[in-house]
Subunit: 174 residues, 4 copies
DNA sequence: AATGAATGAGTATTCATTCAT
DNA sequence: CATGAATGAATACTCATTCAT
């Protein structure tokens, strides 16, 4: 290929490509929303369109890859002795703010069983840390904060998340 | 007009067209999201593409028309003697469920001053009904419920909204 | 009509409307080219779309109206004793610069017999003022200047026309 | 691909596609003017819409490609020993007649620096062949002939160009 | 396995033209 | 006879997906 085409780095690049695509998806979807063109993700990752489709045949597969990373981090934290519910919520909030666009995925049709599996893992680790019955409330609260944070400009996300958690903790009536 | 073209109903149809377009927008955006094709809105309304653009030059103008109706209904309710904050929140929730897709608009760029005006009217009427300082908490809570409801399948929206309000009212710690 | 619709000024407005449309066409086509939307002409004239179509069923009819005015002015000048060919060319040049967009019409299909008639009148009055056989050269020269002026920014049109006439008068080889 | 979709000829078709698009643009714009639909150019070239946009993101890029070819041919001729100004003008005239529609581009807004570069190259090669100071006159004359030829039916273009050059050479006064 | 060009369906938008009032 | 809303065909442009190399 004597032309301007990027060199074919061969099979060895597969792992690096996959990681670059996930990182690019976090960035691009964070900036332009979950509906951003996939070509922009491939370009940001420095990877061909075809490679994106090989690794992630559907748009949702990119989101699932991010979720998998996030849940693994949560599970690692939960496994550490002395971790409180608040510690877990703090990490969840950090993840929400970092990968806000993927929250949109949750509502996208059709409902994906792999998504349900992720939610199940989160529920399980919350149940392990919260008093009986509290896990569903926490899941609902996380959903509310996530949804809210997703529709706020990047600069306001941290403050909005903090205000939302404060309100949720004290309730509407003092 | 022996061909397939819809009869030109003349200028008298302007009002009816406008109302049909708003109603169609609520339906279509409710089903397919705020990014749904405008051609689908025009078709559902039984109106030509050009008429849609005449009445609503930008997509956001459709949302503003819905918001204007909603806020007017809220103001009418607030003006009725004996109306409580809970009455207002109940109506807000009904509106959210009925016009869920328009919630997405609030986060769309660029920020629209007309949108800020609508928010201002809501804040004002809440401030008139809530104890001092409570209006901002209520606005935040409405935002959370709205964002959450918007990413839930239509059939679950009522139950989700109810659960969210219950959680917000009692707070996360019993 | 209690709404925002302009008052129907009635049949008496016909003449004024026609003149306003021609003037608006000169302006709008001058600014945006002969392909400018007819709705812009009607708006500029302060006249309904329907009235434009009544007076000028086709786009070319607007051009013909301008040409008719221009040729009448030329004929009036030619009829004045002592008028030279240069006087006529000076007026033609003024007209070209003022109504530059209409030059495009000449090349628009299909060829219109009324356009040929206008050209014939111009040839006749030039023949009356120029030495035998010179009228066709003059017509060709006018066509060249017109075509050139039409593709130059408004501010440069006068200077361009002057340079073109100077070149035509002296020829390429001194 | 059993459906109607054209076979994907792969990246190797890029060069052929580009050439086909330029050739199709010359034809289509020649027949229907510079405002002709780009979809017609793509269809004539036997190429998808997307490929047209990939190669020529803007309409003017098609014109620049034609100009680049034309100027290169002129420069090649100018470099040949014994080439006269008349030889160059003859080639310019041939090019004008073949790619007449692109003349419109020159007046299109916004002014494009790449267009100015093309003009500069033409001026340079004329200056090399013409007596001192003559290049600007020649450029003006070419502009007049080009503008005139562009507004004449295809069948008349050669004769019109010849008549225009003859008039320019001898000047208006015998 | 990677690359990126090719493809065309899908949408937004404009504007000529018609016609009820 | 005037008005301007209604209509939809035509066009520009984007982007998901395929596939030759």
């Amino acid at each position: 290929m004597p032309d301007g085409r990027r060199a074919n780095r061969g099979p060895g690049a597969a792992g690096a490509n996959r990681r670059a695509l996930v990182a690019a998806a976090v960035e691009v979807f964070g900036e332009r929303g979950y509906a951003a063109p996939l070509s922009a993700v491939a370009r940001r990752a420095g990877v061909g369109q075809g490679s994106l489709y090989r690794h992630f045949p559907e748009r949702v597969d990119l989101a699932l890859a991010v979720f998998a990373d996030n849940v693994a981090a949560l599970e690692a934290l939960a496994a550490r002795p002395g971790t409180t519910v608040d510690d877990l919520l703090a990490l969840v909030t950090d993840q929400l703010i970092a990968s806000v666009a993927f929250v949109e995925v949750v509502s996208s049709a059709p409902p994906d069983p792999r998504l349900a599996a992720v939610t199940g893992r989160v529920r399980a680790l919350l149940a392990g840390a919260a008093p009986a019955g509290g896990a569903d409330d926490l899941l609902l609260a996380i959903g509310m904060v996530a949804a809210l944070v997703a529709r706020v400009p990047p600069a306001d996300r941290r403050a909005t998340a903090d205000a939302a958690w404060a309100l949720l903790r004290r309730g509407l009536r003092p």
